[in-house]
Symmetry: D2
Subunit: 323 residues, 4 copies
């Protein structure tokens, strides 16, 4: 292997730049040439590819987003699109790839390898932490801290006004972001897709709280749950509790940005190094991850198909701690 | 004057605690007794009143929200409510009031004085900065910085994805929060209630930008404008520009919380001192404010009825700087 | 067991309040009475002890420091001091203790148990992360992020001025704080007590960097190393490189404060629960910790005497990534 | 005027990038060509000059430091140095300059104009706020908020340990940074170069506080005062109060960095525009500033020689509010 390409794909996540930096510098340290591919598979198809040097990644470790930009590519889902991508890589002499992204990214890489034989090693870059094969994904710790910071601010005003706040956090189909937000934010209730928190439970908990003369409440709602969005949950609860002074806040895209935390910079740096080392030792179609402080490579297919399960004790914790 | 009461009313704002601290300590320094009234006029009516000491306000200067809590009172709008409030003040021997709040607060204080003769001096506590009689209101600088911090995070992801973000900020009927968010956030467009930014203008600006190969845009929208909420504006623009990748974020109640900035702590401290000094020198029904670095007392009636005008140059700045 | 006492001892750490909250609420949830002991062993000796309720720990999860205050006690090192402490606990009917602190705290608890048989379960509360028996200590993640935030700011000015910054971080005798600061801060060199980084190496690395036309550098120095403090290292390097424009910053006590990160709030909450559950299941003289996501109780004596070793790969990472 | 040059000089300050951005975009908006000069007068002498476009300043408004880098130039103090600088400007056809910096910068510009007739308009870029001709300098608000944030963290640990903290902030010869840090940080004592706070006063205030059972104290010390550095003051006070548990923290270069606040971005943007408009309307050797919300141009010579006086009421405020 002499020349590798690196790209980011799917939703961006804080720490992607730290990972790009580690990939570029490790490649150079190990005598490889390294090329940046802009806008994920789209840039691969269009040949939006440039040679990167050590200084190309100077002073980016602390930056949110991705200097390589990201996109979701529909064209790469077609045979024709992948053929074009292959031709571009050929033209640049690229014989290995590092992909930073999530399951869509790895699915694409898998098919691409089967067709053209260019090996890819991946780094898990998504705020949702819902990838099997790593304890944490790059961007997750930052997203949680960003959300928690917002929840702390909202609690200032909740406390001042005797209100019930329904706060929606991201997470796609999982409660990974919601759980530490609820525990760390001192919330009374958490609703995540993995469990079946009913509207009745929410209503009952608020009623009990009022009886014990609690006056302000925070309910954390992960997007994607059965009970609906924060707006919908709030409306349903309001019907049962017409005197409740409720407010809804949807944290939204703020959660994707910001300077990565120390943990995300460390993780991104470790996994960036591991991606390059993986390619050099002949690995392909695997994602680098850290499980119990050990570096682990997991086949793309498992990262996509296997489920990662949230520790159920964390849900009990919310109940105990809001006693 | 021997005993004064202090309360916060209306929407809470960062710096209210710093103001309470300054009021309590100045009162003690000047030999007065000082009483905290909880939950605004509601607490006055119910007699939720307690004696405050110097240590009652220790370690609160950096806290968001208000330790005295706040509420909007419908009962105080009735003659009967105000009579009860008067009786409670009488019972505690309170012969002067300091009110931290906005125009609703001051309107109530005005009527109350006419009926019962208890003088009130007010401090402008609202994130909206829409009160005549002061350059800045307590909480405004913090709210702007909180919003800007969120916008910085959103731009990370906007840049990474070639997107158009429509971001809604608070401000009631004014663009005071939106303007520095737009200039400081490097936004391409700002829409505020004071001007008539048409949907056509937004569409045209985005089209021109794309032609100049700009790929990501930020549009700041103050709540309360004619063109509608951020969600509505985005939908209308999307119709004209179907290929646009648009996202909407409503910053919401996050803007009300957080630790006050240095400027808000300074302003709150200065105005807290000025409220007590004002009462001691016989002022009544006036709001303390700072205009051009000078302390000014403005009659409540003027703070409510007179308009505060945004410097129109600030709107031009957005256009020049996004060239 | 019916009544337990809780105290914080030694240097304070962010997350101690989150831990106190979890201890108090779990105790109440499990039907125990819980007493707060102020200022560590000093308060135990003086009987500065008060009953805590659920609301005693409301709204403290996000606060730095410790509401129970902390102190180092010389009196508790004497037999007489411990006898007084025992009498106070007897008087309050306290038959179990939860101690949040570090090795000094646990050493004291061990002796106290041998003499008076009151069981203690401990939670590791120190920013230094140098306790055996847990992957992370409460406060460590926050301290690292606080330091990194400061280093990011310093790099702004380092880059603007072509300077070499020597930044000293805390850590007592270990490089746990320094390592992620160096990797996450994009530093060129890290000096920690565990390794023997010579002044010659620093000088040579800077010379090589200049030759490759790097113009600004960051050197992270953990306190307690052989080469001396940041001030001493900078002076020695300056002698060898008289043209270097060097600046020294000692981050100092800023690192101990601040609102705890999400990870620290989670860890503190988990360990707080575990301390109470531990006492209830008959454990004594053990510290609750999390190793590889599993709850582990380690005898105090081992937490004090056994060494926790930094992953040596982390040091190599600094070299690779600053290539 | 057709071509202008822009540079930053002296100590860097947050907001310099926002100012560079405003200068470049206003110049382009007004049909001028604009050149960036790197490393202040040094780059002018060496011809380190490049053409800037609108996109050269994309996404820098939120960044600390200066993308043009800064330096203090000894060569420009010589006739020979200035001659070289002139020749470089001639070669690039630059017939107007915008300088962002402090008094050293403006002194140089003044002499340069007398010798070669190239007009300069300046923007006040320094965290110290000690320039006559503007209420605030670019970077001041950010530096104060950064310091205050650090002081808030230190107070967490001060409160937890019953300690006296002596915290040194920047400010060259003025107390501009120290004053809002003391008021906003809830400090008990502030020592600034403008007043004569004796060690006796500090000792007496601490003694009085202890008598009133205050247990933790914060003393803010501006660098450059008669009583000495924070380390020296602490040592002297310790002699008089041997039982005091004192700690010293020197905030240092952290204060220079970080993302600029909203107020600094606004000020920097306004003054950047004003510099270009000033050159276009024939102004020379003046600094643009904002006094009482009005744009004012002040001759360089006055900005250097005239004194800006701190409002003495601010010092009284520290005493009243720590009652």
């Amino acid at each position: 292997m002499k020349k590798i390409g690196v790209f980011t794909s799917g939703g961006d996540a804080p720490g992607m730049n730290a990972c790009i930096r580690a990939i570029v510098r490790t490649a150079i340290y190990r005598g490889l040439e390294v090329y940046g591919i802009r806008r994920g598979y789209n840039g691969m198809i269009k040949g939006d590819i440039y040679k990167m040097e050590s200084h190309s990644v100077s002073n980016i470790i602390q930056k949110g987003g991705t200097i390589l930009r990201s996109a979701r590519s529909t064209e790469f889902m077609t045979k024709e699109g992948r053929r074009k991508a292959y031709e571009q890589l050929q033209q640049h002499g690229i014989d290995g790839l590092v992909a930073i992204g999530g399951d869509g990214t790895f699915t694409g890489a898998n098919i691409f390898f089967e067709e053209y034989g260019i090996p890819t090693v991946g780094a898990p870059g998504t705020i949702d932490n819902d990838l099997f094969g790593t304890d944490y994904t790059i961007g997750y710790d930052t997203a949680v801290n960003t959300s928690l910071d917002a929840i702390d601010k909202i609690r200032d005003t909740a406390d001042s006004h005797d209100r019930v706040f329904f706060i929606e956090v991201m997470g796609r189909d999982s409660g990974y972001i919601a759980i530490p937000c609820a525990i760390g934010g001192g919330a009374e209730i958490v609703m995540i897709p993995e469990t079946d928190t009913s509207i009745e439970y929410v209503v009952e908990t608020l009623r009990t709280g009022w009886r014990r003369s609690k006056t302000s409440f925070i309910v954390i709602i992960a997007e994607g749950g059965e009970a609906g969005s924060a707006t919908e949950v709030a409306a349903k609860v309001q019907q049962a509790l017409p005197h409740m002074d409720a407010r809804v806040t949807i944290l939204g895209h703020v959660q994707r940005g910001g300077s990565p935390t120390a943990a995300d910079r460390m993780l991104a740096s470790q996994l960036g190094i591991a991606c390059v080392e993986g390619l050099l030792t002949g690995r392909k179609n695997v994602m680098a991850g850290i499980i119990n402080a050990e570096l682990v490579y997991t086949p793309f297919i498992e990262t996509i198909t296997k489920d990662k399960v949230i520790n159920p004790q964390f849900i009990d914790m919310v109940n105990i701690l809001s006693v």
